[in-house]
Every structure is written in structure tokens, then in C-alpha cells.
Symmetry: C2
Subunit: 216 residues, 2 copies
């Protein structure tokens, strides 16, 4: 005798808003993938954080890998938007550089976990998912400013690409290591607005001093 299964009624998700649900899933997935990478991330952890079941994850994104790709796509789009608003025309190389430093730090501060997403992707999957999209337009702007400044003589005769690396280092490494330094000085919240402002000012002073031609 086969007893038909009786399911209990569900209340669950009040919203029933496909767009909102997907955004919640992507937010949760971004956290999880940033922490654990593609392989290390757990669909169940993402589902829990997004307050849905794993079946819902598959309903919207089919596979874990698709969800991962969707997560990677978001910051790309966002950076593209940010840079669309950027206009450096008419600024001196020095002023333009200051502007770029501020933008780099600000956009990183908004999503500090994306650092790790980016590094995980490069180290685990050889950056395959990033290959085609040019996230690197900020780099292009910076490189142009550096080359102009060197040509005009207001910057030292730097090697442009190494200088680019070192400048971005100063801006971004702060966020890369902030987790590592939590256990050094647990009382300081290095992601608080005023700590980030201090970092920004110090970074500008540091970088400007490093690249500007000294009076001779």
C-alpha cells in the first residue's frame, strides 16, 4: 500500500520578489566566494545566508559555477559605471593622480571583500573568468597620467608600469591585509570611515612624495 506524501503548508518567504531574491543570493554568494573561493564555497552556506534553500539557488543560477560567474560580473559592471563618471581632462598630473587615488580607495572601501574575490579568482582559476572583460580601465587612466607627468617633468623618471603597481599597492594593500591585522590590534576598526580617511590622506602624501620630482 502506497501512502501518498502529505506536505505541510509553508509560509516562508513573504516577499516573493524575484529580483530582490536574486540580489540577496548574489550578496550572500559574494561573501561566501570571497571567503572560500569557488571550490571552498558551500551552496548551503550561501542559501542559509540568503534565507533561501539550495534548490532556489539552482532555480535562478543552474549551477555553482554559473552563480560564481554572476558574482564576478557585478563588480565589473559597477567599476565600469564609476569610471564613466570620471573626467580628468584639464587637471595637472598631480591633481589627476590625487583624484585617482581617492577613487581607488573609495571604491575599494565600499566592498573590501572584493579584493579577495579577485585574488581567489586569479590564483584558483588563472583569472579565466576575468580574461575577456577589461576591469582594468582604472589602470589605463593611471598609466596615462603617469606617462604625462613623467613627460612633463613634474614626476620623476619612473618606470610607468612598476610605478602603477607601487601606487595601487599603497592604495589597496591596506584592505588586503586588514583581516590579518585584526588580531594584531583588535580594538581598531580599520574599515571605519575615519580610519579610511586617515589612510587616504597618508596614502596621498606618501605617493605624491614618492613620484614628484624633488627640487634641484
Amino acid at each position: 500500500m502506497v501512502r501518498p506524501k502529505k506536505r505541510v503548508a509553508k509560509s516562508i518567504r513573504a516577499n516573493r520578489d524575484a529580483e530582490l531574491t536574486q540580489r540577496q543570493i548574489l550578496d550572500a554568494a559574494e561573501q561566501e566566494f570571497a571567503r572560500h573561493g569557488l571550490k571552498g564555497a558551500r551552496m548551503s552556506a550561501i542559501a542559509d545566508r540568503a534565507q533561501v534553500t539550495t534548490a532556489t539557488l539552482h532555480y535562478y543560477f543552474e549551477t555553482k559555477e554559473n552563480l560564481y560567474k554572476a558574482v564576478l560580473q557585478r563588480p565589473v559592471d559597477q567599476i565600469q559605471t564609476t569610471l564613466g563618471q570620471l573626467n580628468l581632462d584639464g587637471l595637472s598630473p598631480e591633481a589627476a593622480l590625487k583624484q585617482i587615488i581617492r577613487i581607488a580607495i573609495t571604491s575599494e572601501a565600499e566592498n573590501p571583500q572584493r579584493q579577495m574575490l579577485w585574488f581567489q579568482e586569479a590564483s584558483q582559476n588563472q583569472g579565466g573568468y576575468f580574461k575577456e572583460c577589461n576591469v582594468l580601465s582604472l589602470h589605463a587612466h593611471l598609466l596615462k597620467v603617469l606617462e604625462e607627468g613623467i613627460a612633463e617633468g613634474c614626476f620623476r623618471p619612473l618606470k610607468p608600469f612598476l610605478a602603477l603597481t607601487h601606487i595601487l599597492s599603497v592604495c589597496l594593500f591596506y584592505f588586503t591585509v586588514h583581516e590579518n591585522w585584526k588580531h594584531l590590534t583588535p580594538e581598531v576598526d580599520r574599515l571605519s570611515p575615519d580610519q579610511i580617511e586617515e589612510h587616504t590622506e597618508a596614502a596621498i602624501a606618501f605617493i605624491l612624495a614618492a613620484v614628484k620630482r624633488t627640487a634641484d
Copy 2:
């Protein structure tokens, strides 16, 4: 009727050297954990790379977590040794700083994948396994040099801890992003000795210019 199992004879591992085997396992595990973190790493991948079976991994290290801890311990011991040979007495702050920059870059260049090991640990496990050990003795040296230089007036009046961060950024971020920049300029091997030497020289020039008091 029970047919008793006959196992075929094995040649396999010629060496049969416990110490060597363990080192091979640790090397393989360091690569795998650096790429994928604790959760994402696969015991089978480690076993394959080390040319042993997963049973051997458990024979020597019991659990995945123990193996992970053993992997983390090695760099700690190694850095401790390196710093034991360091002597900055009698050097000017500027010369001492140059020395520290060279050491930081050199030791990072020897094991560029350890960057990720370190970051993975911080982001995945809140740096729990690192808490008790003071890997940070290089930081202590650097901080001391900076404070002396500021006090003597040969460095600008920097905030010591932010300056420390920015200096280490310039030295280390190069290795953090080198995977990300492979797909930008695939033809350049940024880990080759001469590329690293270029980075070192540029980093020294950059940092010194950034911290030194300008003639006034």
C-alpha cells in the same frame, strides 16, 4: 564461497624515506592550500602532487586540519630563522630601511605563493592558527626603524603604523597581484630574477622618496 583477495605486488615509491616523503607532502599541500584555502583544498590533489596516496597523508598527519597547521608552521619557523641573522645596529635609519626592504622582497620572492596562504588563513579562519605565533617580528623591526628615523628628523613626521603598511604594500603587493597581471601581459615573467631586481630597485627609490624629509 569466499574468494580471498589477492593483491598485486607494488613497486611504487623507490625512496621509502619518511622525512623526504613528509617534505614532499608539505610542499604539495602548501601549493594546494595556498590556491584553495583549507576548505577548498582536496586531499586527493595534494596526494597526487606529492606522488603518494591519501592514506599516506593520513598516516603522517592524521587529519586535513593537522596537515594544514603543519603547512602554516613552516613559514613561521623559516622567517624566525631569517630574522635571527638580521642585524641593523649601527645603521642609519635610511640604510636600515633599505636593508629591510631587500629582506622583505627577497623572502617573499622565494615563496610567492605564501602570500595567498596567509590571506586565505586570515579571511577564512580569522587567522586563528596564526594568533599565538609572532610572525610579525619583521614588522617590529620596521616600526622601530621608522620611529627612530622620524625622531631623528631624517624621515617625514609619518604615522608609524600607516607608513609601515604603505611600505610593506609596495614591497609585497607586487607578489599578491602577479597572478592577476599574468593575463594582462602574459609574456612577462614577473617572478624572474631580473624582474624582481627591477622591482626591488624601484621599490627602494619609491619608498625612500616617500619617507625622506625633503630639503627645506
